[in-house]
């Protein structure tokens, strides 16, 4: 996971170009509409001005995202193990897992608020619902895609079912699991913000980033809204970086998705 100059420079140049275009667009829109697109330095100033609120909201959203994400990992792995062991259970439950993924979260939110109460519990459950599907699908796929010859090898050495799961199926499924984890990692902060947007307004500590969006929106604080957006981005980035780091730790030595270590 080496970070090279050759990958940093293009990104820096593209970022600068983006800011330049931002200023450029602002230069050509009519003064009456200028409030719609605050210039980058005003957004930066808004960060400073609302620092405490933004940090607090990011923390609240981060906690909700982390809780929902972790819960999803635990339940999805347990579910994937169950599904991989039995074709009948898999056939029986798969359609409902699909349905779970189709559920519109925005519509579920009010129900959850009534059931679990607004704030952290609802945000956690909504994040869980969003993260669960990619995790369970990928992990199950990994657990049932074990190389057939290796399964036969284990059979010939009279391995127990438990040995087959622990020494073969689970490690062989790790790359699939991490694919699911990456997807879930990007979804978790978004899920928490969406959850907070629709179910977080009476949370303690002033709510999360979603709730802040509602407040700033109502107050027409455009620069603060932009700052909120970027706070969400940073939170997402933290999640993705953490998941990528974990994936690197577990896979880089042996999996072909990472460069080979030197001989």
């Amino acid at each position: 996971m080496k970070i090279r100059c050759s990958t940093i420079w293009p990104a820096l140049i593209a970022g600068s170009a983006f800011i330049a275009i931002w200023y450029g667009v602002r230069g050509i829109i009519s003064p009456a509409r200028e409030f719609m697109l605050p210039p980058p330095h005003e957004v930066l100033a808004a960060f400073g001005e609302h620092a405490t609120e933004l940090l607090n909201a990011s923390r609240n959203t981060g906690i909700g995202a982390l809780l929902g994400f972790s819960l999803a990992v635990v339940v999805a792995v347990a579910m994937a193990l169950t599904l991989s062991l039995n074709n009948l259970i898999r056939a029986g439950l798969y359609p409902y897992l699909m349905m779970m993924q189709m559920m519109p979260v925005i519509v579920i939110a009010p129900i959850l608020v009534l059931w679990a109460g607004a704030g952290l519990p609802s945000v956690t459950i909504i994040t869980f619902l969003i993260c669960f599907f990619p995790l369970v699908v990928n992990t199950t796929q990994g657990l049932i895609s074990t190389d057939r010859s290796l399964v036969e090898l284990f059979k010939m050495y009279r391995a127990s079912k438990w040995q087959e799961i622990v020494r073969l199926r689970v490690p062989a499924a790790l790359p699939y699991f991490f694919t699911g984890l990456r997807i879930a990692g990007t979804l978790a902060p978004i899920g928490a913000i969406v959850g907070d947007f629709s179910a977080g307004n009476s949370a303690g500590n002033g709510g999360g980033l979603g709730f802040l969006t509602l407040i700033y929106g109502a107050q027409f604080k455009m620069a603060a809204l932009f700052a909120t957006v970027f706070s969400g981005c940073v939170l997402g980035f933290v999640f993705v970086a953490a998941v990528s780091g974990l994936s690197w730790l577990c896979l880089h030595q042996w999996h072909d998705s990472y460069e080979k270590p030197d001989n």
Binding site: Q163, P171, K260
Partner: protein
Amino acid sequence: METCKNFCPVSDTNPQACSVRLQSVAKKFGDGPDVLQDINFDAVAGDFVAIIGPSGCGKSTLLRMLAGLVSQNSGQIEIDGSAPGRNSPELSYVFQEPTLLAWQRVAANVELPLILRGVPAARRAEIVQRCLRQVRLGERADAFPRQLSGGQQMRVSIARALALDPRLLLLDEPFGALDEMTRNHLNEELLSLREAASWTAFFVTHSVAEAVFLANRVIIMSANPGCIAHEVAIDLPYPRTPATREEPSFQQLAAKVSGLLRTVEEAAK
């Protein structure tokens, strides 16, 4: 401490290779036609049997039946007098691919059969080292499989197969994916491993030269249904060396096997 019954990996007395007897064995899958029909064959202890034949003649199925992975529809298979499976003597299977655990280092891959069979940890390290030295990979014990070449990966696979000191070695085109130079080297190594231990081998291959170089008996199978069409005794003395391939008797035998293989393949058309 884990215990293991009927197991003795580095025995003080060399374990005896086992005999294999196939009597009127037939196999079909589902309602399909017979894949194998009326297979009769006796291998005595220490035989190195090469099986060659057109694709779809059931070579691999035959090997898988000996391994106890599939069972025959009729007939009898006996390995040292007992049916393949739990009670048969120790056997190892080498697949066409190295079939290693990618997430385990070389040493751990060789150790796997020992762990699965409950060999005490104290004895495992020594066996692993010995097996890796035998395939000249003692230095690469800490590498991951993907850091090795195809030939080296296959040698790890063979070291793993030898870890339990098998009496029967089943090899399903193990060197089929390798270039000819590497394949020749590995053939020579396999024979020298055979000097050091005592096992009976069944070796499926597509290469006539490989079959004649390794085996003392070559079985030529025909397809639809798969059955044993010919057997050629390879009476070249062991140990065989690269020079063996240059000898007229080797080339005559190879020509004979090629000729028989051609008649079998033409009959199938």
